[in-house]
């Protein structure tokens, strides 16, 4: 339908719930045929944004076009070409897998056989349970069914709100493999996730916090733009070490990442050996330091601090 190269164009979208500003002047564009991820913690405004994009919520200000259609004015036409998977499982738990799919195909007046190629890979995994009630499926199966139902009318844009939250690691990986296949079928996908590791699977990501976008780019570009040099430090006494590191004049910050501590320093000023001897001088004899590459999470935390300061 739309002729622009963008599947979604948002310009200064704001939305408040009373005094709480859920979205503040949000602007971004999603290119056709890409997987665009919104990465951010709970309460960042992801769901509010998605509900605006899917015509369920009216923005206070700003405009949003999805495939060239205005989310407020052209909502009727838009609902035909959108696929939406809400964060909360919203299919009929008392209907079977099959009945859910038939119902959604029915109300979109879509032909299941005609569009089956889109969902084949996904649906075949749940087809053995076709007669089972949706409420009795496991978390991963539910997500697959929800995705099938969101796809059966061959949407142009697919909006997925935290599709992998509460799903086991194997199912999560399978789910992302499917998304990449769908992308190859030409469907634009917008996905929200609180998992930083899923960010690298997106073509481009937007880091979102307190209703504001902190950065938008490819995952590679975002990590490349990390302004600090990163070291990964391991020690037996992590908590003390973090405090010690923070006192070092060249150290920008030190954060715990599982078992290791990520230390960001002003680039090119000190080496791993310098840090090692600094720690030794202060009694941390058994530490281990290597040069690290920043991940999306490092960037996110750094950007978050910058905006808060």
């Amino acid at each position: 339908m739309g002729t622009s190269e963008y599947a979604i164009e948002c310009a200064s979208i704001s939305k408040s719930y009373g005094k709480v500003k859920a979205l503040q002047e949000l602007s971004f564009s999603v290119k056709k045929g890409e997987i665009f991820g919104f990465i951010g913690p709970d309460g960042a405004g992801k769901t509010t944004l998605f509900r605006i994009l899917t015509t369920l919520l009216l923005p206070d200000t700003g405009t949003a076009l999805v495939d060239g259609l205005d989310v407020v004015k052209d909502y009727k036409a838009l609902r035909r070409i959108l696929g939406y998977m809400p964060g909360r499982f919203s299919l009929y738990q008392d209907l079977t897998v099959e009945e859910n799919l038939q119902f959604f195909a029915g109300i979109f007046q879509a032909d299941i056989r005609e569009n089956y190629y889109l969902i084949r890979d996904i649906y075949e995994q749940i087809a053995p349970f076709a007669k089972r009630k949706a409420g009795k499926l496991s978390g991963g199966m539910k997500q697959k069914l929800a995705l099938s139902c969101a796809l059966i009318h061959k949407p142009v844009v697919l909006v997925l709100d935290e599709p992998t939250t509460g799903v086991d690691a194997v199912s999560r990986r399978e789910f992302w493999e499917m998304l990449i296949r769908l992308k190859n079928d030409g469907i634009t996908i917008v996905v929200a996730t609180p998992y930083m590791d899923e960010a690298t699977l997106c073509d481009r990501v937007a880091l979102i916090q307190h209703g504001r976008i902190l950065a938008t780019d490819t995952p590679q570009a975002i990590t490349n733009a990390f302004p600090w040099q990163l070291f990964e430090v391991k020690s037996t006494d992590t908590l003390n070490m973090i405090n010690l590191l923070k006192q070092h004049p060249e150290v920008h910050n030190a954060d715990m990442f599982g078992e290791t501590v990520h230390v960001s320093v002003k680039p090119g000023r000190i080496s791993a050996d310098d840090l090692f001897s600094y720690l030794q001088e202060h009694g941390h004899l058994q530490s281990e330091i290597i040069q690290g590459n920043p991940g999306i999470e490092d960037c996110f935390i750094d950007l978050m601090r910058m905006t808060n300061e």
Binding site: L56, Y84, F89, I107
Partner: protein, 368 residues
């Protein structure tokens, strides 16, 4: 149209799959009809009577004999002390006390009025007035006998011959059962349809429905039609029961009854759906629906005649769909009224239904 069909199909699947729903729809109404029709009655079949006879003459015993021989009266105590009788009434052992003073017979024989004191337990007002009506009629029979015994010509007074049309035996069930049928249809219409929409809100499925191209009227129609069919089915079951178990006459056209019910259902379902659009949980919607329903039922004329309500209450009944439906169904079932007799009420209901459904569709929001 096809979209509405898919929603209706889905609703039926869900209704028949719900373990609680089937008994609610099919068993409870039958019980309700059986229990209410037999139990809810204003007739008084047994009046416990305490007699205080301080005259102890042929005349006083004759009057008491009149009560004793009535099938409705049961003499629970005799005495010569009003206080003892009051005790019986206090304890609820007697409903009524009759007290005759010394000189009862003497007064009658000398042509003076003889006094009879009747004390009723009026905890239940309508029962007490029925009771005293029975008592008065027994005493007036007694009077007539006395008068004719003194003067045989006096019996030639005007004699009233009662006849009760449309319910010749004044059978309470004939009056109640059509009303209870109305109740059944109303509960299905108002509760189930409305609750169903709120349920989708409560469990979040509405979110997925709202992003589809379903139009508002399609959604409302899809929710309405299944329960409309179920309620009419229920009415059919109820009518069969009324005919076979209670032998209630159905004088009017049975199709007319269904036509009235169909129109009436539009109104109650419209109210239910409207309530569902202003609430967010089944609990809220249930509570609101109950509130509305209880007022409608008590004012409808199901239990008490509308004609004896104060004028303002009768004015309020203009918006009470149950009042229209009960009036119409009694007219058609018991009187055999035809379309021309009820067309005004039916027209009002149709307008009402259209208005409330439009309001429900308008109020239902796919966007927040």
């Amino acid at each position: 149209m096809r979209i509405i069909f898919y929603i209706v199909q889905k609703e039926f699947l869900q209704v028949f799959r719900n373990r609680m729903m089937l008994p609610i729809i099919f068993v409870i109404p039958v019980f309700q009809l059986l229990i209410l029709s037999y139990a809810v009655t204003f007739e008084i079949k047994r009046i416990n009577l305490y007699v205080v006879d301080n005259d102890n003459t042929v005349s006083s015993r004759s009057l008491i004999q009149h009560f004793a021989s009535s099938p409705f009266y049961h003499i629970v105590g005799h005495g010569s002390d009003n206080q003892a009788g009051m005790e019986f009434i206090q304890k609820g052992k007697a409903h009524q006390m009759i007290s005759l003073l010394p000189g009862f017979e003497k007064a009658l024989n000398s042509g003076h009025p003889a006094r009879v004191q009747v004390i009723n337990d009026a905890i239940n007002g309508s029962a007490a007035s029925l009771m005293s009506a029975y008592t008065v009629s027994i005493i007036s029979n007694f009077n007539k006998e006395i008068i004719t015994s003194f003067n045989p010509d006096a019996g030639a007074a005007a004699k009233v011959q009662w006849s009760f049309w449309f319910n010749p035996e004044l059978d309470y069930k004939t009056y109640m059962v059509p009303g209870i049928l109305v109740l059944l249809v109303t509960i299905i219409g108002m509760f189930l349809a409305g609750m169903n929409v709120v349920r989708e809100k409560e469990i979040g499925t509405i979110e997925q429905i709202n992003v589809t191209p379903i139009k508002k009227y399609q959604f409302i129609a899809g929710k309405l039609i299944p329960f409309w069919i179920i309620a009419l089915f229920e009415l059919a079951v109820g009518l069969i029961f009324a005919r076979l178990v209670f032998s209630i006459p159905i004088l009017g056209n049975i199709f007319l009854i269904f036509l009235i019910a169909s129109v009436y259902l539009l109104v109650v379902m419209g109210i239910g759906l409207f309530l569902s659009t202003v609430t967010n949980t089944q609990q809220q919607s249930m509570f609101l629906a109950w509130f509305v329903l209880v007022i409608f039922i008590l004012m409808s004329g199901l239990f008490t005649p509308v004609e004896s309500m104060p004028q303002w209450a009768r004015n309020l009944n203009v918006v009470n769909p149950i009042a229209y439906f009960i009036a119409m169904i009694r007219m058609v079932m018991l009187k055999g009224s035809g379309f021309q007799h009820i067309s005004r009420e039916l027209g009002i209901l149709l307008l009402y239904g259209t208005a409330i459904l439009s309001l429900a569709v308008w109020r239902y929001r796919k966007t927040t």
